[in-house]
């Protein structure tokens, strides 16, 4: 497996390309300077790069590059359909009705290897869109949107619910698992024609006691899937760390994790479902690294034990928070990168044993995604 040599860093003030040179990783290009870049997607089938922008005034937009970010072209934007006549959306927990309008592009994922042109897009307020033409046009998945249980979703850290994770089975493109804050993990086995909420096991302390294990009320901050073992899913959840070995049919909690089981980002080794990295933070009401020390937790035994990795990471008065899309792993499983709300970016080339600081001065980082390898 070749190692990643390019990384795309989406920030509050632009998109930065980071490349591996003879002397290490460094920022090699800036694009969309001043604009709020919320997410990128690199398509390994085509080399195409897609960036999501969240213009405060002008709405969410998508742009596509066929040359690894050298030039860009605006493409279609997912659009919600009109509400049916006479329909009144239900109120969510905060008393706000779900507005049928795009608030945020929160997930982008290529379709299956044999589905050239297919891209899935998760959004806030909870719509899942699919493009079959590389992002030129988008269609709302009505089977999920029209499911009455969808109206039970609610926002987690935002006014509206959103789909932030999309895991397409590497061997069966019709098998897709998505993660929703807050709506748990949902599964389709038929390419999106029908959906069901995953099984029990996740735990939501923020719900009344009788509802804490309700699958549709869970807040998985991120869901990731092992490429070589797609039955294996890992979740960094609002209330802890969970794993599934049966493709979301059931979940088990990983307990006794220090310094914290709270966080947003999780990465699983592409060929070893037992090896996982997480970036812990003090739990929900605080959201900064414990003791001001940036650390990465790594397990190599499926969560039985964790190593807390610190070499190369700041260990004094560091208050970097790492968002859910801001940790990535390459196909070799050795190169990882993560970025923080305070604009720090770190890369490891040895599975996290040691980290190189690429920058401490970038804008707040929303997303880190590897691009081309070799």
């Amino acid at each position: 497996m070749s190692r990643a040599s390019t990384c795309h860093v989406a920030t509050r003030k632009g998109l930065f390309t980071v490349t591996r040179g003879a002397s290490g990783w460094c920022v090699s290009r800036a694009a969309f300077l001043g604009d709020n870049c919320t997410l990128t997607m690199h398509d390994p089938r085509t080399g195409v790069l897609v960036v999501a922008l969240g213009h405060g005034h002008f709405g969410a937009k998508l742009h596509r590059s066929h040359d690894e970010g050298a030039t860009w072209q605006e493409i279609g934007t997912p659009a919600y359909p009109p509400m049916p006549d006479g329909y009144t959306p239900k109120m969510t927990h905060n008393g706000k009705a779900i507005d049928w309008t795009l608030k945020l592009v929160w997930a982008l994922a290529p379709g299956g290897a044999n589905e050239r042109g297919v891209i899935w897009c998760g959004t806030m307020p909870g719509g899942l869109f699919k493009s079959e033409d590389g992002g030129d046009s988008w269609t709302l998945n009505r089977a999920l949107w029209d499911d009455p249980k969808r109206e039970m979703w609610f926002g987690g850290g935002a006014d509206y619910p959103g789909i932030h994770s999309i895991c397409v089975h590497p061997g069966d493109a019709d098998d897709v698992v998505i993660g929703i804050s807050c709506g748990g993990a949902w599964v389709t086995r038929d390419g999106g024609q029908s959906w069901s909420v995953g099984g029990t096991g996740m735990r939501a302390e923020y719900m009344p006691p009788e509802m804490q294990f309700e699958p549709n009320a869970q807040d998985p901050h991120q869901v990731v899937q092992c490429l070589a073992n797609p039955d294996a899913l890992w979740v960094q959840h609002h209330n802890g760390i969970f794993r599934s070995t049966d493709r979301a049919a059931s979940w088990s909690e990983i307990k006794n994790v220090n310094p914290s089981a709270f966080g947003f980002a999780v990465a699983v080794h592409p060929r070893d479902a037992e090896t996982v990295w997480l970036v812990p933070a003090l739990k929900d009401e605080k959201r900064y690294p414990a003791d001001g020390r940036v650390v990465v937790n790594r397990t190599r035994d499926g969560g039985k034990t964790f190593e807390t990795l610190t070499t190369g990471l700041p260990q004094q008065h560091a208050y970097d928070l790492v968002y859910r899309h801001a940790l990535d792993i390459d196909e070799s499983g050795e190169v990882l990168a993560f970025g923080s709300t305070t604009g720090s970016l770190w890369v490891t080339e040895n599975g996290g044993d040691s980290w190189q600081t690429v920058s401490s001065n970038l804008p707040p980082i929303h997303s880190v995604r590897f691009g081309q390898s070799g």
Partner: protein
């Protein structure tokens, strides 16, 4: 016929030159404008056709009243200014 003018800030995303268009209401005038410049529509209106939350429209210097339906009348020689609101620009 009314004149439609756009904020400078939108120009780096999508070119929106000042144009004279037909229409007796703001909706009609903007529809006429966007029919010749369809990409600009999504920067000003959402998919429901409502004025985006952090955009503003003035008609002859007066603030638009109907942000959802854009039914405010505009006189034949009226001026419609499409600008960004000072809200929505998180730093």
């Amino acid at each position: 016929m009314p004149t439609v003018r756009f904020t400078d800030n939108i120009q780096r995303h999508v070119e929106c030159p000042t144009r004279v268009v037909g229409g007796a209401r703001v909706r009609d005038a903007l529809d006429a404008y966007f029919s010749a410049n369809p990409r600009a529509r999504g920067y000003v209106l959402d998919e429901r056709g409502r004025l985006r939350e952090h955009m503003a429209i003035f008609v002859n210097g007066g603030q638009l009243r109907d942000r959802a339906g854009l039914t405010d009348p505009v006189e034949d020689e009226g001026i419609i200014d499409v600008i960004q609101a000072l809200s929505g620009g998180e730093s």
